[in-house]
Amino acid sequence: MIKFFVSILLIALLSFICGLFLPWWSIAIAAFVVSALIPQRPLRAFFAGFVALFLLWGGLATYFDMANNSILSARVAGMVYLHGSSVALLVVTGFIGALVGGGGSLTAAFLRK
């Protein structure tokens, strides 16, 4: 279980650093690298990557959204058929990052086993 939480923390951290310099999909590489170094069973690895990126992307977006009083998220949420719901947009944001992060981690887990 410690491995699981450490993985989440490290994936989130490395993804954040990668995001500062590299394209958005570098989160998959970050998740892959951390999960390759900290081996876990595939399902666990997947959830580590998934949760890490859900928290990172969802968290960052929430941070920006609060500072912005949801001005932009309300507009964008209308454009992507979320009926102007900022919360839905935050969840979608987290989910997109989570799927890619989970995929990166899952791939790494199969590499080690």
Partner: protein, 822 residues
């Protein structure tokens, strides 16, 4: 390693990334979702904190000296620069900082490069748009203008600095900081150039001088007999009050164009039908301005007012700013995409602009030898046409190659390969002569406006202004008030260019221009005891004693209202001007209402119908947001127009010019037996009373439907938008509670209206008010994106604070940016 699950998982992950990296959809593509949603790359980066500080220190090598920019609470910059070149540099930087996407997109639209960003569009609409702009000669016109601009050392230096300022901002811009629209459409800005400034100027020329009805008029001329034609398209408007008052004496023409010997046989009496269709800017691109002498104001000082009517877009066409240099101190609105303040005031004087709406675009029917369009018949022989191939880059598609022939008259706008926006196609070819395609330097006028001090400076500044022709109102602190309709206008013989002209001989070409000193003007100096004001609202500039042919495509009603109101007002204050600029009084309705009420047959009406009539009768002809009267009037008049004209007009499959609203009203007021009242499809002869009553009865179901939809009040029915340039509703402001309309001084229509309301009182310390429907930031994620919109709709104004260097510590300064080169 479990190779199969590994590979499967790898493929799934890479596949997912691929799917999230591409744009989906057909004509309207999604953004690449991964990048777009990534909080470190995508739109979340554009969510500007509401308490963001705009303070900063900028080190920019292109500056000559130091400069400071003080932002007030509305994010209006007050620029203090060491000289005019640095001022232009900083202005370029600020435009890019707050409006980059818009300024680049507008120049793409000008240059016919929309497909490059948006793709081919539905039915290749964007490609057609691009072709039309390129064929009209927008790019060649901009290049010619640029050459002229760069001959002027002041303009050249300022444009170079402006461009350098824009590029200084672009070059340090990280991908994550790109404006939202770039992320939505998945592209990046290219470097700015002086050519783009010229393109923007030509875009305004297209917007303001790109309107004519030559094709529709040509068809109407061939379809109607002479008597009907004269009734439908009369050459005088009874109700007009021209810019230069009626009865003013004009000298004889300094240049008299000669009508060709064949004008009657080959032109005016020659039936010709046109199936090509033009793309046109909004026909109501107009404006109001007026300037009042001190003799009529409370302060005994002139007051100048201006509200240019343009498409109400987000980001706004305007960016408000103050620019202070050792030579001048100017305040007003600028165009993101060009240097200088365009409408505003300095420490000595104020100026305002409206559109002249003169017809400066004429078409010629060209006879080509064959489909290659390499030779055309001109002055009795086949002569070679120039040909060029335009390459239109299309996002997500193959490039489109357009072969454009060019004649002595100008480029071929429409031909069998490009019928314009007609579904029918065309077998003929039409060359266009468009005045703004002739080379000129309009920017020079504004460069001189910044520092002008008196009437002679103003005259010197405008004298070179060619296109689009404008009414420049002027007022200064010495008490002078003036207006010039300035532009370079072709001197035309009667009805030249009213219809498509024969393009087979030189006698139909424009022969020369109206000499500049003969442009309509009115000057009131301090001793003037006349009417005490000048004004313009796109009405015809002069009465029929002016020695040149001008046509009649001018809206009469706003000008009439303005002149009446100003004649009746004395001891005028800026508060009076606010009420006037936001006046929703509809003089057209006021003239039509008695006619309708006089002719409606009330007896057979049901209680419901009588109720609508009662509301209409009690309506004071003011189009306020909550009134039902304007809605009833609109539907009623629309049905009346259809009932009177459609029986005749529907007999032709051609695109015919529809008579102006003023024509129908004036005809009915003069002649209750107006021949078009009779429905030619029925044996009986209808009367005005019958048709007015019938139109009312037809309007009632529309009104009931509107009432059911909650749209019976004027603002709800009209549904005014301030619309994002990409027409995305969520980035626009919709259903604004604003009244007015096309015939009101407050000319707010659905997508179009007063784009900047300004009132300047030229007291020792200038007092000024202004507002535009938008906000200083072009970022939809900023609280400054649309923060003026509600105030604008409500008819409120911001005080225009002319900051002095002594005000640096004033509480109105919210943020400061220091610019320096070391």
């Amino acid at each position: 390693m479990r190779i199969i699950p590994f590979l499967l998982s790898l493929i799934l992950t890479v596949g997912l990334i691929y799917c999230l990296s591409r744009q989906w959809g057909g004509l309207q593509k999604t953004p690449p979702f991964g990048q777009f949603f990534s909080p470190q790359h995508g739109f979340w980066q554009n969510a500007e904190p509401v308490n963001k500080s705009f303070d900063g220190n900028l080190l920019l090598a292109g500056l000559k000296g130091k400069g400071d920019v003080y932002f007030d609470e509305n994010l209006v910059p007050h620029v203090f620069a060491a000289n005019h070149v640095d001022a232009s540099y900083i202005q370029g930087y600020l435009h890019a900082r707050f409006r980059l996407w818009q300024m680049e997109f507008q120049t793409f639209a000008a240059a016919g490069r929309v497909s490059e960003v948006l793709g081919a569009g539905r039915n290749n609409a964007y490609i057609s748009y691009d072709r039309s702009m390129r064929r009209l000669g927008m790019v060649t016109a901009a290049k010619a203008a640029l050459a002229k601009m760069e001959e002027d050392p002041v303009v050249k230096a300022d444009c170079d600095a402006y461009t350098a300022g824009v590029n200084a901002y672009i070059s340090q811009l990280k991908a994550s900081e790109l404006p939202l629209e770039y992320k939505l459409l998945n592209y990046s800005p290219e470097p700015w150039t002086n050519l783009k400034i010229a393109l923007f100027v030509k875009y305004m020329a297209y917007d303001l001088a790109g309107h004519d009805n030559d094709f529709e008029m040509t068809n109407a001329k061939s379809f109607f007999n002479k008597v009907d034609f004269a009734k439908l398209y009369p050459e005088v408007q009874d109700s007009v009050d021209p810019i230069i008052p009626k009865g003013t004496h004009f000298s004889p023409a300094g240049f008299s164009p000669k009508a060709p010997a064949t004008a009657d046989s080959l032109y005016l009496n020659m039936p010709l039908t046109v199936t090509a269709a033009e793309s046109k800017p909004d026909p109501d691109n107009g404006s109001n301005n007026w300037a009042i002498s001190g003799s009529k104001t409370m302060s005994h000082r002139p007051i100048l007012c201006n509200d240019p009517h343009l498409s109400t877009n987000l980001p706004s066409i305007w960016y408000q700013m103050q620019i202070h240099t050792p030579d001048y101190n100017v305040y007003g609105v600028s165009f993101p995409g060009a240097p200088y303040v365009i409408i505003g005031f300095n420490d000595s004087c104020a100026w305002g602009i409206t559109n002249a709406e003169r017809d400066v675009r004429d078409y010629y029917s060209i006879k080509f030898k064959d489909e290659t369009r390499k030779e055309y018949w001109y002055n009795g022989k086949w002569v070679p046409a120039d040909q060029r191939v335009d390459t239109i880059v299309v996002k997500g598609g193959q490039p489109f190659y357009d072969t454009v022939a060019s004649t002595v008259f100008g480029p071929v706008m429409y031909d069998p390969g490009f019928p314009g926006f007609s579904e029918e196609g065309t077998t003929r070819s039409y060359a266009v002569h468009w005045k703004p395609a002739d080379s000129s330097n309009e920017i020079r006028t504004f460069s001189r406006f910044q520092s002008m001090r008196n009437y002679s400076d103003y005259k010197e500044a405008i004298v070179t202004f060619k296109s689009p022709g404008q009414n420049f109102a002027y007022a200064d602190k010495s008490g002078v008030v003036a207006i010039w309709q300035q532009g370079e206008f072709p001197a035309k013989w009667k009805e030249q260019g009213r219809f498509v002209m024969p393009g087979e001989d030189s006698s139909y070409r424009w022969q020369g221009n109206i000499p500049q000193p003969e442009n309509p003007t009115m000057l009131l100096d301090t001793l003037d005891s006349g009417r005490g004001f000048v004004s313009s609202a796109n009405q015809t500039p002069v009465d029929t004693s002016y020695p040149y042919y001008l046509g009649i495509d001018f809206p009469p009603y706003r000008g009439l209202t303005i002149n009446r109101m100003l004649n009746n007002l004395n001891s005028i204050t800026p508060g009076d001007m606010k009420l006037m600029q936001t006046s929703n009084y509809d003089v057209f309705a006021a003239m039509a209402k008695p006619l309708l009420l006089r002719n409606i047959h009330e007896e057979p009406l049901s209680a419901d119908e009588k109720n609508y009539l009662k509301v209409f009768r009690e309506w004071n002809c003011t189009n306020n947001p909550d009134e039902e009267g304007p809605v009833i009037f609109q539907y009623w008049w629309r049905h009346l127009t259809k009932d009177i004209y459609d029986d005749e007009f529907s007999k032709s499959s051609l695109n015919l010019m529809r008579p102006f609203e003023s024509t129908l009203l004036e005809s009915l007021l003069k002649d209750s037996a107006y021949s078009f009242i009779d429905n030619i499809n029925t044996p009986e002869k209808e009367t005005l009373q019958q048709v007015v009553t019938k139109a009312f009865l037809q309007a009632v179901p529309d009104l009931a439907a509107a009432a059911n939809a909650g749209r019976l009040t004027w603002a709800k029915n009209k549904d005014t938008w301030v619309r994002h340039l990409l027409r995305i509703p969520q980035l626009s402001r919709t259903n604004l509670p604003i009244g007015g309309g096309v015939h009101c001084i407050n000319a707010a229509k659905k997508l179009h209206g007063p784009s900047w309301r300004m009132i300047v009182e030229l007291t020792d310390k200038t007092g000024a008010l202004g507002i535009y429907p938008g906000g200083q930031s072009g970022n939809p994620g900023s609280r400054y994106y649309d923060n003026f919109v509600d105030k604008w709709a409500a008819g409120e104004y911001n005080n225009l604070w002319v900051m002095g260097l002594e005000d640096v510590k004033d509480s109105r300064v919210k943020w400061t940016v220091h610019f320096s080169n070391q």
